[in-house]
Symmetry: C3
Subunit: 501 residues, 3 copies
């Protein structure tokens, strides 16, 4: 009988195989705090989905003590002063929703516990302090104010989200309302979440009090939280599993980087990297920290190039983890209205160009250099991203790639300038009112065509060059549309000249 496995023993073994494959690999040794137990007692039946989600998480299984015992490269926590009294516990409901209550205007009494609904980055920073520090230098953390505190962009927002009416043969437009903005631009940029008092509600467990939250729900990257902090870790680390696998997969970034204005995800999908990811990802290891190039994955995801801690198989560091992200970005491809060196400060609403417009470039071309990083800093950041490329590609390959990107930036900027000259001519000849007349540059049909030149087509072509996503450089909102759009603007101008005659 020895060395033979009876039929009876096969079932447990195969179940084990499933367990090993489908469960996170960490040991399950942490203790659940009493407060978290109290939450779970009710919420297992009230919100079983998020409880089940959390049960699959590393948070539910690893105590702070275990987390900080890891080697430097393996460590997923970065704070040096973890609260002593909580170190034996796993990270449960209470550990996040009951921390820093005093700073949260949404804190309220809930079954004899004071809790807050909106967990904010400073709450997460209890354990992940370095990430929070870095993230505040990330332009994304200011996504709310960079949009809503910029007079030009607010005009753009209103021209998109404001309801339009037709009467007396004219179109008029309302100022965009807060709810619409929340459902539109601010879904990605983040809302301002405020507490508008508290209300009582009958529940299965009797009458209970809850805060009235405005701008909620929202998971935008620049959300203004009830504790006045900015950002929302759940944008990329969705509740309540907070899976590093999810954050490392491109579908996460795709939530906001997929549309025609910033089609990074679509370009990635059409690229060789995206091809390999899509075809081979089920063979990869997405939960390993550190993340080993060539072993854990064989083509980059967004996180590989822009965020993750990467090592080779001898654990030599290829790239440090960063939540500043622009650490590895020398330029901002996203043309406003031309591509330009990356801004120095995450707060871009302070930028003004020579013409007095809150833009990092002049409408007539050229960058507003005082607000943008200099060549030396650009060189450092370019080297950061290139060192990731070189873990798979030769220097010649990498340099050849960036030659194409640089040329693309040059030509798309030129095509934007041509469209802008046409637009200026149209304003000058008075067919529509815009900059020279002190009127909106976004409200007329022809102005919207001009916006698409830089916001959709030039951007798409640049992203395509940056990530080698072929057709986005040509027929998929690429050079075809860029060249066609320009001819159509000219055609419009010629038609209106003839009409005038």
């Amino acid at each position: 009988m020895c060395g033979y496995i009876s039929k009876k023993s096969l079932l447990p073994l195969s179940l084990l195989a499933i367990f090993v494959i489908f469960m996170p690999s960490q040991a399950q040794s942490g203790i659940i705090s009493d407060a978290t137990e109290a939450c779970l007692d009710c919420h297992i039946s009230i919100t079983p989905g998020i409880v089940g989600d959390w049960q699959k998480s590393r948070h539910s299984q690893v105590s702070m003590n275990e987390a900080i015992a890891k080697s430097d490269l393996e460590k997923r926590v970065s704070s040096s002063d973890l609260p002593e009294e909580e170190r034996g516990f796993v990270i449960g409901c209470a550990e996040c929703h009951m921390i820093n209550n005093e700073t949260h205007t949404d804190s309220f009494d809930h079954n004899d516990y004071t809790i807050h609904t909106v967990v904010s980055p400073p709450d997460c920073a209890t354990c992940h302090a370095v990430e929070w520090d870095e993230y505040q230098k990330n332009i994304m953390s200011k996504a709310y104010s960079n949009l809503m505190d910029n007079s030009l962009y607010i005009d753009l927002v209103n021209s998109i989200n404001g309801v339009q009416h037709f009467s007396d043969n004219a179109i008029t437009a309302d100022i965009a309302d807060d709810t619409t903005n929340a459902s539109a631009c601010l879904a990605c940029h983040g809302t301002k979440v405020t507490v508008d008092g508290f209300f009582e509600r009958e529940t299965e467990l009797g009458e209970m009090t809850f805060p009235v939250l405005n701008g909620w729900p929202n998971q935008g990257v620049g959300r203004i939280n009830p504790d006045s902090s900015i950002g929302s870790c759940t944008s990329c680390h969705p509740r309540h599993q907070f899976s590093i696998e999810t954050a490392r997969k491109p579908a996460t970034c795709a939530q906001c980087h997929k549309g025609p204005d910033v089609p990074a995800y679509k370009v990635y999908q059409a690229s060789k990297h995206g091809n390999i990811y899509e075809s081979e990802k089920h063979h990869w290891e997405f939960n390993a920290v550190p993340w080993t190039v060539g072993q854990d994955f064989t083509a980059p995801t967004c996180a590989v190039c822009h965020i993750s801690l990467l090592v080779d198989e001898e654990e030599t560091v290829i790239a440090k983890r960063t939540h500043q992200m622009n650490d590895r970005l020398d330029k901002r491809l996203f043309g406003l209205i031309y591509a330009h060196p990356h801004p120095i400060d995450a707060n871009t609403s302070i930028i003004k160009n020579k013409a007095g417009l809150p833009l990092p470039t002049e409408l007539t071309g050229g960058s507003v250099s005082e607000f943008l990083i200099d060549e030396a800093e650009q060189g450092i950041r370019l080297e950061n991203i290139k060192s990731v490329c070189r873990s798979c590609h030769s220097s010649g390959w990498v340099n050849g790639h960036f030659v194409m990107l640089d040329k693309t930036i040059e030509t798309t900027n030129e095509m934007t300038l041509t469209a802008t000259k046409l637009m200026s001519q149209i304003w000058e000849e008075g067919y529509v009112e815009g900059l020279p007349q002190g009127k909106s540059v976004f409200d007329d049909a022809i102005e919207k065509k001009w916006v698409e030149q830089w916001l959709f087509y030039a951007n798409t072509v640049r992203f395509s060059a940056a990530m080698a996503g072929a057709d986005y450089g040509v027929f998929a909102n690429g050079r075809w549309q860029m060249s066609k759009n320009l001819r159509e603007i000219h055609d419009w101008l010629e038609t209106h000249r003839q009409l005038k005659k």
Copy 2:
């Protein structure tokens, strides 16, 4: 040696692991009927693909007796009067293609068996009667006649599918032919499958007779079958595996709910739910019945919100299974031409508005309430879907979400009204002929722009709000296009006024 597994024993064990993971978990104990054996004998080499597909199915492995022995929650069959004589057999070729032959005009003699090609919902209803009952109350079951028996929509179909010609400086258009309609609109809506006699053909097995089927192949949701029934279960449960995993995955719904008119799938993909699904689905269990929230999956697919039987881990039912689907839908987002309360009857071709148009809304705004569910019923259905939301989200979260959806319906309806006022003005001033002239409202270029306002952009924005798919609310056929399109219609009107002068 005991307790030690020799190297020799490793291989069978690991193969078992693969087996357990890649095979459906049910036991393989049912008996194949003689008639099905006869089919398989030839078809294993004639159509090996579908035979192999069926072999992987639950149908090939579980007998009716086993199926009905399951507990109520686990049951996948719903008929109370399963045919006694067949209960010991698995569900094979014969059990579906040889049932109800007398009602099928496509029945024919095939190697001494009478069979029919087109398996229809009443055939499936032998075991799945409740699903078939429900499905007939689903608006999708009438997708053929709701389109083809509506004089306005037929005009739309012809304006899209009819071949156009240019001669004598005018465009003329043919009536759309049946084959083109089948390849276009009816690919989703379903064709009318009719039997046009029978023909003989030389086969590897000698001369054989087959029916001549018109409108075939087709898998549309409202297909009219040769037994006069409506619908096609294979739309979502594709042959011959009929996998519940497939039906529960969003790629199934995407077959028809992806285009610019109804971009539900694209919005889902860009949403947080879609992000989690895409990143974590390989850890989920798609074959479990009932389907346990938080355990089997941690974010909803289309089926979770709209169809599936959901329980929590204590097997408390969160939502009942329904194939009526609008059970959980209070409104119809799909604006015809405005979003409105859900129709009472699955047959919408009976609807007439005050102006005499076969539409559930007036062109000038407002719903045709006599054909639509009332507020009480809306409240019940809204509560049904909200109870699914609340298995993961707090009431405050859920209500906040629906506030944004309601506002979006209001504003997109308003933007549709503005476009319609412009269109009416254009008709009135006679630049093109339409409603006032008793002519098609879909054939002119400017009319097509008006259609896109409600059919593409307003719908996209609403779906985006309904499922929180950010960019589809803004730049991806969203509010940007909605506001731009309106300005372009106005621009066209102004140009034509100037031309007239």
Copy 3:
């Protein structure tokens, strides 16, 4: 104790389960050559990504001797005269980068080895000779010259990629530069990779010499290599794993067959086949050779229909492997400017129509038959693809499908003709200059609308019919856009006639 597996023994067993599932199943018995060992010594730390990728490959694990010992159906190598002295080694760095050096102008001395950077199809043909023979008859192998040696297409390329300027109230356009072309059209079509001398660079290992490559990096299907050969196997078999799983998955084809001009991948995704693939693929076997219909997969990918060796479960061959691909294609759906029978020769730049244009069709409709396969050959190729269809579908189903495709070709060709008649009228009346004036037919806004009629919409509708991807036949760049575009061209003509008056 016997028959019982102790807790201690579970871990190795479960690790084994992971190993078996995530690692290729072949034995690892080949020997690494000394030259490859020398490469690996440094590159394991210089480019760990590609070394790791290669380590997961079949190339790194199977020697030539093992590869040629396989049965005919299982064989992945096709050359009859494999180099005797290398047969004991696995295929490593040296085996590809050091072969045929004398034909490569990019060969250079690298640490005392002569190597070349760009591995070309003739290098791969050392083992895969038949595939290389076939590929040269594939129209894709001539993708560079078919585009760049065709005067009409070059004009199209320039109209898309050339930078445009606005001065003196006119638009002027530059000739497209090589770098932009490389980043745009030639990303898919392939660049001409040339050696522009050699340069020295300081590296971690001292000063080293490298070739200066123009048109590099590039992975286009028709790349002209430094050894004058055409093609790039890595287009579909990406370095350095060369996984057959990747090549068989549709994301690979999607790199170039996804845009609005040739949306094959998007149509597939929306089709029933794509639905099943997306939902069930993780249960399939993508590494099996031969590939068994119904067992290894239950719905086709691109490779199934167009390339792969397919067998049934008795190993009867359903379709032979081909890298000529048009072996199974009777028509070219991609309308230039109408769909037509497949070209005889892979080199299409030799084609001239009666009007003297380098096109396989006349602008006025009809095919240039002398350069296209005849009806007999069309019949053979159609039967090839139909025999793949019939492994899952009945003859009636298959024929019904092709009736819809044929009708779609007829109607889309007709809709292209109508647009072309309109365009000709516009040229004739002189609103823009084109063919009659001996000027570019691609540079004006209205000409670009005409191009979209055949390049985007007619093509999309045809692909939709060919693969039953519903909405691409209607609202997703389908018949809706085709009919709207035509009306808009007519509207433009009418407006300009009125302006002229």
